[in-house]
Amino acid sequence: MLKEFFSSRKYVIFTGIFIGVSAAYLQKLGNPANMGICVACMVRDIAGALGLHRAEVVQYIRPEIIGFVLGSLIAALVFKEFKPRAGSASLVRFVLGFLAMVGALVFLGCPWRTLLRLAGGDGNALFGLAGLIVGIWIGIFFIKSGYNLGRNQRTYSMVGWVMPVVMVGLLLLLIFQPQLPSGAVFFSNKGPGAQHAPIFIALIIALVIGFLAQRTRFCTVAAVRDVILIKDTYLLTGVVSLLLAALVSNLILKQFNPGFQGQPIAHTSQLWNFGGMVLAGLAFTLAGGCPGRQLFLSGEGDADAAIFVLGMVVGASFSHNFAAASSPKGPSLWGPASVIAGLAICLVIGFSMSNLGKKGMEDKK
């Protein structure tokens, strides 16, 4: 009964509204502008806090990411959906996570932040949104052509616990903030990494989001994909609710500043706003879901989704270490080339792991 309640359309709408309002308030409480929640940016900040990249302005252990995984874990345990599983082309998922992050950091935001930037009045995000939809559409072409990463297998319970335990470890690092001789744990003194809401408020909000999203299967990429692929608007109603709730909240909180120039943590190179999100949208679609969804899946025991997230961590580090991540001034030296190379790799994956490739998966029962 309760299970059906959570999978009803009104609950996915409620989840969207909760995320939209929370994101606006997290910004009010200290998170960076139009970045109340950004899965890509926040994973990137964690990579920086651990010293995996040296961009000093984006280093912080974001409790939102921790809460998403642990909230999903709690929901999965309560509703008996914690099912440790692994083994579906894990290395390819790692690569897709890496490339999705490269694309997101050229645009400067994941699908969640695309919506939040729009809700804050950032017109540049329209180009990101268009790119995201095109990327998803290309992914759908491959899915229709039999693209398949192969079946996962049930595995030891312990495997499913790895990601939640890693999150608890990160939470301890955040709370106690140990200072090692190397300088780790790194926390930004200025820039977006220095802007954050109070830890426990952010954590609790994220736990609730993780719980709700696990129940409703909330996914910003599937929202678009399902409309095109199977004509299902269930998730889209949740995503539109998020956008509208964030917009209304921003208007109330006086955080709505329409325009293209001078938008917070954004640039006006529309070609690469578009291109970056084509890459991200394609990589997310080939991996089965948006970065938030990958976190929620990793909380319910999906080790392949966890590996995608680890790919994002490494992708973020690469992007900042190799001048691929954009800055508010525009794309960096290697950003455009990274997007083109990333798209090429995604196309190779799409062609070679579908019926379009001569060695497509035999297992299509």
Binding site: E81, L149, A222, L229
Partner: protein, 70 residues
């Protein structure tokens, strides 16, 4: 004879796509679907009901058997 399809272990959206294609192919009758995650179960159920099929769900250990009929 009932037809069946096993979508265990497949990641989103392959289970729902596979079942949808099968339902569109057989047009009417009974299709049994073996599913292993709540997400796939919900997605398949919603899709099938949306296109006019009835769905009965039975838990079998940690998996689900969906009987889809029209």
């Amino acid at each position: 004879m009932n037809q069946s399809i096993d979508v265990r272990g497949l990641s989103c959206p392959l289970p729902v796509v596979a079942v949808r294609n099968k339902l569109l192919e057989i047009k009417k009758g009974i299709l049994e679907v073996l599913v292993d995650t709540g997400t796939s179960k919900d997605n398949i159920t919603r899709m099938a009901v949306n296109i006019g099929w009835r769905v009965e769900e039975r838990e079998e250990g940690e998996e689900y058997l969906l009987t889809i009929s029209k």
